[in-house]
Amino acid sequence: MTLTAADVAEIMRLVEQSKFDELNLEIDGIKLTLRRAGASAKFAPSLMTPPGRLDAVADAADGTNASAARCETAVPADANFRDITSPMLGTFYRAPKPGSAPFVEIGSVVHEDSVIAIIEVMKLMNTVRAGAKGVITQILPADETLVEFGEVLMRMRRDP
């Protein structure tokens, strides 16, 4: 059997509602790692990279992408899915302000104009909108990390 996007969304919802910060799941050779955004300080590199080799930054990024990549094996590329890319380089924020609820979660229903994130560039906050109707299926960058121009922020399943 293969995990479908709906299965992943359902599992994520369960994790989200649970008191667990992390879930590792292995089914038929597919490894799925889920972590709650902001759950772990080591997992959300701060804006200021601590002094050290660039590798440290790369490692953190690899960590993020590793779980994303595993998710990808479960979410097939499909015309029904859409990537929401970053319109600019900046710091990715999932919530309007520290401590408040994120704009969207996995499974959130969004409309074209729904704000899904904020990109901050030199203290200037820019909103990112979903751009289409559908359901958020994946959130790629960790909260409060650097995203580049064109980087995929989220994936969504379009409503037919």
Binding site: P51, R53, L54, V57, M88, G90, L124, G150
Partner: protein, 461 residues
């Protein structure tokens, strides 16, 4: 604070050039790229690459906020702006200061001071550096009165500009009002500043510039001059050092004038003071100062053995400025700018994908490039693909090496100006040395084959 990681806010050959110095100095490189340059050679060489915006320069290489944000987020200590783009915009050092990032270049105040050509003229006069007769033209009446005094031919120039934009030649006084309007409109569009000024036009001038380094505390050294008279529409094509045929007296007073000017403004980092030289009269006049590293800096490096990018980094680091007595020049160096443009077709840019390329190598040959087989030359930026520099104990040996090097260079997939360079280096006038800025026009008049267009063959059939 020691600079350990530099973000380069530029592209092309200069990005590759700065990376090379960073490698020597064991400094890590973060390269800020536009989406058009993600797969380029400099991106492959950098330790980390961040995409700061779309291919459009305004979104990426001119986006100061994104560049400084990227520097902070990647833990860079300093930003090197290269040349062009934001290198002479005060906003970049200003944002850097706010974010605690070192700007490798002059202060924002110095950029503003030399960017305003009238202010720069005034500073030159105060520093006892001769300027071309001219001045401000705040009203048409004032302009006409001034034009009578300095006499035609004259140039209408943009106060906020450079690079030939907003520049108009006036040969007859009655054309002045029309040219003032044209220049002001062009200057307003290009620089957001429609102010213009007048200068007497020196027809057979040579463009000679002096490389300086300043510590920002009033001490300035010079690293000799470069002759950049081989130009077409104010775009330099061939540069060399030392300037051929200048008397020792003129050469020395030119260098000293550049130092006085830079001292006057307490210049920080590497800069170039440009002059127009009237070789017949043994006179020279201040034109402007370029507050950045220049495209043609390698010829100076070739004869001094000094890495100018490394000097910029050392000065930004607060490691101090070397002594004038440490600067020794040896021999001559000449550089050809290889552009992806069709020299037979009005030098029209020729972007595209380079199929094959072979660059020359050998004693006294240096090639600064970011282009390898398969490289893309995007249409969004300038067409410079390489600089080929030859040096030798004297001008004849440097020229012989350069001719060999240009002959050994092959580029396919895009048009290049290599054929122009072959013709220029073969020309007896260039070989004699000391040409003025009218050289390219004379060369084209002598060599009709240079303007024969490469059509499908039907035209010649």
């Amino acid at each position: 604070m020691a600079i350990r990681r530099i973000l380069i806010a530029n592209r092309g050959e200069i990005a590759a050039r700065i990376i090379r110095s960073c490698r020597t100095l064991d400094i890590e490189v973060v390269l800020a790229v536009s989406s058009a340059d993600r797969d380029g050679e400099p991106a492959r060489q950098a330790d980390r690459v961040v995409c700061i915006g779309s291919a459009k320069s305004a979104d990426s290489y001119l986006n100061a906020a994104a560049i400084v944000h990227a520097a902070v987020a990647t833990g860079a200590d300093a930003i090197h702006p290269g040349y062009g783009f934001l290198s002479e915009r005060a906003v970049l050092p200003q944002l850097c200061a706010r974010a605690g990032i070192v700007f490798i270049g002059p202060t924002a105040e110095q950029i503003v001071a030399v960017g305003d050509k009238l202010r720069a003229r005034a500073a030159a006069e105060t520093a006892n550096v001769p300027v071309v007769p001219g001045g401000a033209a705040n009203s048409p009446a004032e302009a006409v009165a001034l034009a009578r005094k300095i006499s035609t031919p004259l140039l209408v120039k943009a106060v906020g500009g450079g690079g030939g934009r907003g520049l108009k030649l006036v040969e007859r006084l009655e054309d002045l009002p029309k040219m003032l309007d044209l220049a002001a409109a062009e200057a307003g569009a290009a620089f957001g500043d429609a102010r213009v000024y007048l200068e007497h036009y020196i027809g057979c001038g040579r463009h000679v510039e002096v490389q300086v380094l300043g510590d920002g505390a009033g001490r300035v050294i010079q690293l000799g001059e470069r002759d950049c008279s081989v130009q077409r529409r104010y775009q330099k094509l061939i540069e060399e050092t030392p300037a051929p045929g200048l008397s020792a007296a003129v050469r020395d007073s030119l260098r000293q004038a550049a130092v006085r000017f830079a001292e006057r403004i307490g210049y920080l980092s590497a800069g170039t003071v440009e002059f127009i030289v009237d070789a017949q009269r043994e006179a020279f006049y201040f034109l402007e100062m370029n507050a950045r590293i220049q495209v043609e800096h390698p010829v100076t490096e070739a004869v001094t053995g000094i890495d100018l990018i490394a000097e910029q980094i050392a000065i930004a680091n607060g490691s101090g400025l070397r002594l004038q007595s440490e600067v020794r020049t040896l021999g001559c160096a000449i550089e050809c700018r290889v552009n992806a443009e069709d020299y037979r077709n009005d030098f029209r840019p020729s972007p595209g994908r380079v199929r094959d390329v072979s660059w020359p190598a050998g004693e006294g040959i240096r090639v600064d490039t970011h282009v390898v087989p398969g490289s893309s030359i995007p249409p969004f930026y300038d067409s410079l693909i390489a600089k080929i520099i030859a040096s030798g104990p004297d001008r004849a040996s440097a020229l012989a090496r350069l001719r060999g090097a240009i002959g050994a260079t092959h580029i396919s997939g895009v048009h290049s100006n290599l054929g122009f360079h072959r013709a220029a280096l073969d020309d007896p006038e260039f070989q004699a040395g000391g040409v003025d800025t009218g050289f390219v026009a004379r060369l084209y008049a002598r060599r009709p084959d240079l303007s024969e267009q490469r059509t499908g063959g039907a035209a010649h059939g």
